[in-house]
C-alpha cells in the first residue's frame, strides 16, 4: 500500500512515524490503547469501594460513563480525518476497537440508569423514555449503536457486502448527533460542556461534508 497523500512541505520537515507499522509494533500499539481505554472503567471499579467517587457516586458513575461514550464516539469519527492529515493509515485498524469501546461505555451508562437510577422499575423507565425527550433521544442513540456493534465483525462485513455495511454504519453520524443532543437537553442550565462536544462533532461532520462535496465535483 503506497502513501497516497502528498505531504506538505512543512509536514515533510518533521520526522514522521512511518505510515505503515510493522505487525509487532502495531500489535503493541493496539494493546496499549486497549488497556488505556479501560482506564475510565477502572477508575469507577476501584473508586467505588474506596469512596473516591465524590459525594454523589451514582452521579459520578452516570456522568463518567456517558461522557466516555461520547468521547469514544468522537474518537471513532476522528480516525478518518486524522489518518488523512497524518498519513498514519494504521489508525484505520483501530477504528473498530474505538467504536466497540463507545458501545461498551454506552452499555455501562444504560446499566447505571436502569439499575442505580431506576432500580429496575420498568414502569418508571418506560415512562421516562416516552415522556422525557433527553431520555428518548439518548435511548434512540443507544438503539442505533446495537446493530453497528453486532455487525462489527469481519464475518459480518463479508456477509453484508462492503456497500451495505458502509451504508448501515453511516448511522454513526446520526447517533453521534443524538448523543450530543441528549447531553445538551439534560444539563440544568450551563451548556458549556455539551457545546464543546457539539463543536467537535460539527467539525468532524463538516470535514466529511466538504470531502464528499469535493469528491463529487472532482
Amino acid at each position: 500500500m503506497a502513501v497516497s497523500d502528498e505531504p506538505s512541505s512543512r509536514a515533510r520537515l518533521r520526522s514522521r512515524p512511518p505510515a505503515v507499522l510493522s505487525p509487532a509494533v502495531f500489535a503493541w500499539t493496539k494493546a496499549v490503547i486497549f488497556v488505556l481505554c479501560l482506564g475510565p472503567l477502572a477508575r469507577l471499579v476501584v473508586g467505588a469501594p474506596l469512596d473516591l467517587l465524590g459525594v454523589n457516586p451514582v452521579e459520578t458513575i452516570r456522568r463518567s460513563t456517558g461522557t466516555w461514550t461520547l468521547v469514544f464516539v468522537l474518537a471513532t469519527l476522528s480516525v478518518t480525518p486524522l489518518r488523512r492529515f497524518t498519513g498514519w493509515h494504521w489508525l484505520a485498524r483501530l477504528r473498530r476497537m474505538l467504536g466497540l469501546y463507545a458501545f461498551f461505555y454506552a452499555v455501562l451508562h444504560l446499566i447505571s440508569y436502569i439499575w442505580l437510577e431506576q432500580f429496575f422499575d420498568g414502569a418508571a423507565i418506560v415512562k421516562d423514555i416516552v415522556k422525557r425527550p433527553f431520555i428518548t433521544i439518548g435511548f434512540a442513540a443507544f438503539a442505533m449503536m446495537v446493530p453497528l456493534a453486532v455487525t462489527s465483525t469481519d464475518a459480518m462485513v463479508k456477509r453484508m457486502g462492503g456497500k451495505n455495511w458502509t451504508a448501515l454504519h453511516r448511522l454513526v453520524y446520526v447517533l453521534a448527533v443524538c448523543g450530543v443532543i441528549h447531553y445538551w437537553w439534560l444539563v440544568k442550565r450551563d451548556i458549556t460542556q455539551p457545546a464543546i462536544y457539539g463543536l467537535v462533532l460539527l467539525f468532524l461532520l463538516a470535514y466529511r461534508a466538504v470531502s464528499a462535496f469535493r469528491k463529487r465535483s472532482a
Partner: protein, 319 residues
C-alpha cells in the same frame, strides 16, 4: 494537680460538633462503655473539621428532625452556588475568597421602620439549632443542622405594612470574588422571593451557622435563607437585601426557565420537573450505590406545618 484552663485546650482536642451530635448513635451502638475513648475518636476526626468559629448559646428546637444528619464534609463539599461555578465542587473550591466582613443586610420596602442590620447585630438574635431536611430540585437530599433564627423575628423589628404581600431576597454580587458571574448562566445578582405568609412561617429560617459553627462560605455565608419545604434553590445564600413588596417578584430560576421552575417550587412528588421525575430522591452519604432511591414526601415532609398555606391552590398550576 494540673488544672487546665480553657486557654490550654487546643481546638483539635475538642470533640467536633458532628461527632457529639451523633453521640446517640454511639450509645445505640453499644459504645457507651467506651465513653473514655471518645476523646481519641474525636481527635482522629478533628482533621476533617472546617475549623470555623464556634457558635455558643444555641437552643434546641422542636422543629428539628430526628433523622441522621448528613456529614459535615458532604454538606460543605457538594453545593449549588452558581456564582462560584456550576459544578458541585466549585463552591467549596472558589467561595473561600468571598468577602463576608464587613457585611450588612438592608431591610426595606413596605415596612414602617426600614433598617440596615450589620452582621454582628444579626448574630445576636437568639440562635436555635434546626435540623432540617433539604431536597434539591435535582433529586438529591440531605439532613442539615442549621443554626439561625426565624425570619419573622427580623420582620417584627421592621414592621411590614399591609401592602407587604411578598418578600424579595437579593443576594451578594461580588464580581471580584465570584468567577461564575462572568457568564450569564443566571441573572445576577441572584434573586429569590416568598409570599409574606411563607416568609413569616415559623419554619422559615435565617441561618448563620451549620453544625454549631459559623456558616461556611460555600453554604451561603454569612447569612442565608432556609425554607425546608421548598426545593433548595429557594433558600437564597449570602443575602444583602430584603425587600417587602406588593407584587410577586420574578425569581432568578423563573427568569432562566419559567416552564421548569416556578415561584412556589414547593417540594411535590406529584409534580415532575419537565425533564425528570420528582417522585424519589437520593439521600447523600447514606443511600448506598445499590440502594433504591427513597420516596420524596409532599412538602418535603413538612405538610403538617405548611399545607394550610396552600389550601384551595392548584399546586400543578402554581408549581
Amino acid at each position: 494537680m494540673l488544672i487546665k484552663r480553657p486557654g490550654d485546650v487546643r481546638a483539635s482536642e475538642i470533640t467536633p460538633s458532628r461527632v457529639y451530635l451523633r453521640r446517640r448513635e454511639f450509645v445505640k451502638a453499644g459504645l457507651a462503655a467506651l465513653a473514655g475513648a471518645t476523646g481519641v475518636l474525636g481527635g482522629s476526626i478533628a482533621a476533617a473539621q472546617g475549623g470555623a468559629a464556634k457558635l455558643t448559646g444555641i437552643k434546641k428546637s422542636g422543629y428539628s428532625t430526628m433523622e441522621q444528619a448528613t456529614s459535615y464534609k458532604d454538606v460543605t463539599s457538594y453545593n449549588n452556588y452558581y456564582e462560584f461555578g456550576t459544578e458541585k465542587d466549585d463552591p467549596a473550591t472558589y467561595a473561600q475568597k468571598l468577602k463576608t466582613r464587613p457585611w450588612a443586610v438592608v431591610v426595606e420596602g413596605e415596612v414602617k421602620r426600614p433598617k440596615t442590620f450589620g452582621i454582628d447585630e444579626l448574630m445576636k438574635f437568639p440562635l436555635e439549632e434546626r435540623v432540617y431536611r433539604l431536597r434539591c430540585v435535582e433529586g438529591w437530599s440531605m439532613v442539615i443542622p442549621w443554626v439561625g433564627f426565624e425570619f419573622r423575628r427580623l420582620a417584627e423589628q421592621v414592621e411590614p405594612t399591609g401592602k407587604a404581600k411578598f418578600v424579595e431576597f437579593v443576594t451578594a454580587l461580588q464580581a471580584e470574588t465570584m468567577p461564575g458571574v462572568r457568564r450569564p448562566v443566571l441573572e445576577w445578582p441572584y434573586l429569590e422571593g416568598l409570599r409574606i405568609d411563607e416568609a413569616m412561617h415559623p419554619l422559615t429560617l435565617l441561618a448563620v451557622g451549620l453544625y454549631d459553627e459559623v456558616l461556611p462560605k460555600q453554604n451561603g455565608a454569612p447569612i442565608r435563607l432556609v425554607v425546608p419545604w421548598k426545593y433548595g434553590f429557594k433558600s437564597a445564600k449570602s443575602i444583602v437585601r430584603i425587600r417587602f413588596v406588593e407584587k410577586q417578584p420574578r425569581i432568578a430560576w423563573e427568569k432562566a426557565a419559567s416552564n421548569e421552575y416556578g415561584f412556589y417550587s414547593n417540594v411535590n412528588p406529584e409534580v415532575d420537573h419537565p425533564r425528570w421525575s420528582q417522585a424519589t430522591e437520593r439521600r447523600i452519604g447514606q443511600d448506598g450505590l445499590f440502594t433504591p432511591k427513597r420516596k420524596t414526601l409532599m412538602f418535603n415532609g413538612y405538610g403538617d406545618q405548611v399545607a394550610s398555606l396552600y389550601t384551595g391552590m392548584d399546586l400543578r398550576k402554581f408549581f
